[in-house]
Amino acid sequence: MRYFCLSAFLLFLAACSTIDCPVQNKVAVNYAVKTIVGGVEVNDTLKDTLYVWSTRSDGDDTLIFNSGIDISSFSLPVSYTHPEDKLVFCLVDTNKVAKIDTVWIKKEDIPHFESVDCSAHFFHTLTAVRSTHEAIDTIFINNPKVNYDPSLDHIHIHFKK
């Protein structure tokens, strides 16, 4: 019995450890390209080429989405803690004519913790979105909860025809 107790204790000390971090750990705002047909909102495909820029803290521009064409949805990063993200959408048509819009996204930032073994992330709740209207017709929040789930359509965007 004593050896049994001792062996059980040694077995415990030799036990393995585990690391449980989500494989899908990208937090991004998902945009769905939509249009209205017969009064009903349906999926649309973007025929022009989309580029998206933003401005970093040091004042330099950074390209965060490059050459999106024939897309019906796309994902853009979201800042960890800045209260409002400012994005510049550039839509280039087949004649190489560019239309530029600015999109502002207000949000609340929630620090998210999985484990000490998993990197720090933030989840977000979108509170408002607005834009200029050179190429964008309408933009609105469809689902405000931004987390690891890549299947959610957070923002619906309608481009002018």
């Binding site: 004593r2 393995c16 803690t81 998210h112 484990s115 000490v116 720090a120």
Partner: protein, 233 residues
């Protein structure tokens, strides 16, 4: 979010083996376990005294790692068959500046477990015992989670991350299988293997916690072991 909980990597082969070993133990003991809930009729008195115990595994975890617990228990011996037990302890974690993620996690809080063990040996009054038991556990604890300021990966703004004194709590249940061996006089040594299951939990605004006092590491502490020094009083 249901989808999220399924997308996890895990290396839990050792846990599965432990479950198999426990199941084999229980099946081998099933013949002697028949009728273990029935009070035997003999001349031995119903109340047989108390025992106090201390867990060495939690102590070793505390000394060798960055989390663990100091735990003691008071057990009542009823006819060498039933053993109502109260386990109390203080669980602590002080994981500072993780070398990979840079995250610091701190907590320190008391906890308790209340339950009963049943002696499933055929000879109930033998000096050594084999137990099967149940526990209910609860802890209310506060956590500090933080990380040194780091740059946003796209915009490069300085980002602070964390919470302080976040109030959390957890209820859980445990299935216990244990062995108690008499060494000399009132001194016993024993170990228990436990399967834990969270009944409910409040993890605060950050979505999860890591070490929970008395329970262990979230999601990976469903199996646990204690090694006890027990003194009859």
């Amino acid at each position: 979010m249901t989808r999220l909980s399924t997308i996890f990597t895990s290396t839990s082969r050792s846990k599965r083996w432990l479950v198999v070993i426990l199941a084999l133990h229980l099946s081998l003991l099933s013949s002697s376990a028949q009728g273990f809930l029935k009070l035997e009729r003999d001349t031995v008195p119903f109340f047989r005294g108390f025992a106090v115990s201390a867990d060495l595994v939690g102590l070793a975890q505390m000394q060798l790692g960055d989390y663990g617990q100091y735990e003691a228990a008071l057990r009542v011996n009823l006819h060498d068959q039933y053993f109502p037990i109260l386990e109390v302890g203080v669980g602590r974690a002080n994981h500072e500046d993780d070398e990979v993620t840079g995250i610091t996690y701190k907590t320190s809080a008391p906890y308790f477990r209340l339950g009963v063990d049943f002696n499933i040996m055929k000879n109930k009054h033998a000096p050594n015992r084999i137990y099967a038991g149940l526990r209910y556990g609860y802890t209310s604890y506060k956590v500090d989670i933080s990380r040194q300021t780091f740059p946003d990966p796209v915009w490069k703004w300085d980002t602070s991350y964390g919470v302080t004194d976040e109030q959390c709590s957890q209820h859980w249940a445990e299935l216990v299988f244990g062995v108690d061996a008499k060494i000399a006089g009132p001194l016993h040594l024993g170990w228990t293997a436990r399967y834990r299951n969270r009944l409910s939990h409040n993890d605060g605004q950050m979505g999860n916690t890591w070490y929970v006092p008395g329970y262990g590491i979230q999601d990976s502490s469903t199996l646990g072991v204690t090694f006890n020094v027990i003194i009859d009083i």
